[in-house]
């Protein structure tokens, strides 16, 4: 059974999702503002629920697929709250919050299984590794969604068919700025996550790098975003190209997050994280 805080969080996120959808459909600003407040309340409870799990488990709550999903959902909401504070675009919530709710629902459908916490999971560096990586992923979700919003809006303006989204979506300039900020900060956090991860690996396996599938795919993700960041800063890519690439990079990232852990074998897969012996 999930904790009370988890269930409360899920309910609040569901309410916020409904509100955000009503907001974008009816363009009812009040609904947007209240959804945002409800979401923040849910986020606080979510944080409490994660901290409690951390306290009980003695390790970061990201060792099973179930808890990773919930943690990722938390990271996405955190990223949304940060970007909302910076750019003040409530409509972002109408796209982001349903996504994090889906992750929460997925997480809640997976039964709780006992996790063997290896001594190595108890260190302080692992939480930093997991939190930085997931928060980076959450910010990349924002880049992905801003990219989709950009493509929709740009398509409408270029083809001169101003449909229902024209008034609802923010300006191209703001969406492009979100893309830039999200990729910069996401990249920074991903880098921190990878460095701390390799240090953890070094103390666990005696080596920083083992060409484990997760490591390889993380490197690929990191490189993809590095290329995008470089193109933006040095070559002057912006707008549509940058949006498209942020979307492309995101698919690599999702595969690294889900595909590798679920489909491939390695010490980073959930099976082994949850207690199966390391290969």
């Amino acid at each position: 059974m999930d904790s009370v805080f988890f269930r409360l969080t899920l309910s609040l996120y569901l309410v916020a999702t409904g509100g955000f959808l009503y907001f974008i459909l009816k363009r009812n600003k009040k609904a947007g503002i209240w959804s945002h407040r409800i979401l923040i309340l849910g986020f606080v409870l979510h944080t409490v629920s994660l901290l409690m799990e951390y306290y009980h488990l003695g390790a970061v709550p990201g060792l099973s697929f179930k808890s990773s999903l919930a943690f990722f959902s938390w990271a996405i909401v955190a990223a949304y709250i940060i970007f909302q504070a910076r750019f003040r675009i409530l409509v972002l919530g109408s796209f982001v919050v349903p996504l994090s709710v889906i992750l929460m629902i997925l997480s809640s459908t997976i039964p709780i299984s006992p996790v063997t916490v290896r001594p190595i999971f108890k260190g302080l560096l692992l939480p930093v590794h997991v939190t930085a990586s997931l928060l980076g992923d959450g910010i990349f979700v924002i880049a992905f969604i801003a990219g989709i919003m950009y493509l929709i809006q740009e398509h409408q303006i270029k083809t001169k068919r101003l449909g229902a989204f024209y008034a609802r979506l923010p300006s191209l300039n703001i969406l492009d700025s979100i893309n830039y900020y999200a990729i910069s900060y996401g990249f920074l956090l991903l880098s921190i996550g990878m460095i701390t991860g390799s240090i953890v690996a070094q103390s666990a396996h005696g080596t920083y790098w083992r060409w484990d599938p997760k490591e390889v795919w993380s490197l690929l993700t990191w490189l993809s975003y590095a290329v995008l960041l470089h193109q933006r800063m040095a070559v002057g890519w912006r707008g549509r190209r940058s949006a498209l690439m942020a979307i492309g990079c995101f698919f690599v990232l999702i595969f690294t997050f889900l595909g590798v852990n679920l489909l491939m074998e390695g010490y980073h897969s959930f099976e082994s994280l949850e207690g199966k012996p390391w290969p």
Partner: protein, 431 residues
């Protein structure tokens, strides 16, 4: 008892040609005189005069509808110098519910030439302010106008009737905002001149663009325009050199060939490091090669594109107007109900007065025969008389008030007046 009527007599862009409307558009000076003249109309109670370039309306209340209506038409005929017979077909006359609906629709900009245009509400408010100043507005018009204003506001916020741009220049500026977000600090290049281009430049200035450059084949014309927009004039040869530094380009020159070519635009975008560039091409034939729109981060809108957007937006407004009309209908019903409760008031008052008189009379007569009463006992009798009056009349009053909100009021009002002989000879009353 005569009933209070609300009447609206007027003409608008649909019923009368501009030549006639001009004759009746009251300037500030004429308006005072007009108010004076209307005030002189016999039996007119409350009134309001609305005069804009698209309409003239005289809204008034009276108990003698026929006579006042004729006087008002005479007044309009005299001011315009148009004979009554010629003027009457150009006028519309709305009574009661229809007059209420009409003023609601006018205020909400549902009766405007451009549906949802925002000026009309301000003009109606101004007309009302004058009516208040000259004390020509009282209970009924006060409430009617306040309802008009709040309804107009509600319609504006809850429907999309004023939602999207319906002029070329405004639509262009709206697009610029969707591309650049904030227009603060953006550079504008105005190539050529013309009403639409200049209007767009004015809107852009209002949105705090940083600078406006003006290019024109005739340099002196460029200098004039630059002065008007507090910008600077450049020659036609300088255009390519300046393009990397501006964000919005409005073109409206008479050049038969495109001035901005695809290759040139590509070159410029490289120099700009792909910062977005927005061409508003109002010229016919076009000044910007249409293919330029295919370049990333460049947006080209020509006059037809902008017209297309406006047509769509007008369609959207019309669809929203249906919602607005429904809100008007509701408000008309509410106001009419209030008006009917108002009609009950005199009858109720008379009823109360009559009963009061009867009880006071009987009380005095009784008390004069009872000399030994203490002051407390006298007071007790008085209290009793009062509370009998109140309790006796309570049900009839509630009944009459209730009829005000439903139909069939006139009938019951009539019965009540006959039953209590409120209009009859005073002789039978008490003595």
């Amino acid at each position: 008892m005569a009933m209070i009527r609300i009447i609206d007599i007027g003409m608008n862009h649909e019923t009368a040609p501009v030549e006639v409307r001009e004759l009746l558009s009251f300037g500030e000076k004429d308006r005072d005189k007009a108010f004076h003249d209307i005030q002189a109309v016999k039996n007119i109670k409350e009134y309001l005069l609305l005069s804009t370039c698209n309409r003239v309306e005289i809204l008034f209340t009276t108990e003698r509808e026929k006579q006042v209506r004729e006087s008002v038409i005479t007044f309009l005929s005299r001011v315009s110098g148009i004979a009554r017979d010629e003027l009457t077909p150009l006028l519309y006359i709305y009574d009661d519910q229809e007059a209420i609906r009409h003023i609601f629709r006018v205020g909400a900009s549902l009766d405007s030439m451009m549906l949802g245009e925002p000026q009309i509400l301000g003009q109606v408010k101004e007309a009302y302010r004058i009516a208040v100043d000259t004390k020509s507005s009282s209970v009924i018009l006060n409430r009617l106008m306040h309802r008009t204003f709040s309804l107009a506001k509600r319609i504006r916020t809850n429907t999309g009737i004023a939602g999207s741009a319906v002029s070329i220049s405004f639509a262009a500026v709206e697009l610029a905002k969707k591309i650049f977000g904030d227009l603060k600090g953006k550079g504008v290049l105005l190539m050529g001149a013309g009403e639409m281009a200049e209007l767009a430049a004015t809107y852009l200035l209002k949105n705090k663009v940083a600078r406006i450059l003006v290019a024109n084949r005739t340099f002196s014309r460029a200098v004039d325009l630059a002065e008007q927009f507090q910008g600077s004039a450049i020659s036609f040869d300088e255009i390519e050199g300046q393009l990397p530094g501006v964000d919005i380009v409005i073109t409206s020159t008479a050049s038969p060939e495109p001035i901005i070519s695809f290759d040139q635009a590509k070159r410029i975008m490289k120099v700009r490091k792909n910062r977005p560039l927005f061409f508003i091409d109002i010229a016919v034939p076009r000044n910007v090669e249409p293919r330029v729109n295919e370049i990333g981060n460049v947006f080209v809108y020509d006059i037809d594109d902008l017209k297309g957007i406006i047509d769509d937006n007008v369609g959207k407004r019309q669809a929203e107007a249906i919602k607005a009309e429904r809100m008007v209908d509701e408000e008309v019903l509410k106001f009419s109900a209030w008006l009917r409760t108002l009609e009950v008031v005199p009858t109720i008052k008379e009823l109360q007065q009559k009963c009061e008189r009867i009880f006071q009379g009987e009380l005095q007569r009784t008390l004069s025969g009872l000399k030994d009463l203490t002051p407390e006992q006298r007071k007790g009798f008085e209290r009793m008389a009062k509370s009998i009056t109140k309790k006796l009349l309570n049900d009839p009053i509630v009944f009459l008030k209730g009829k005000g909100e439903r139909g069939s009021q006139d009938l019951y009002l009539d019965i009540a007046r006959k039953l209590f002989n409120l209009d009859g000879d005073a002789r039978e009353d008490d003595e």
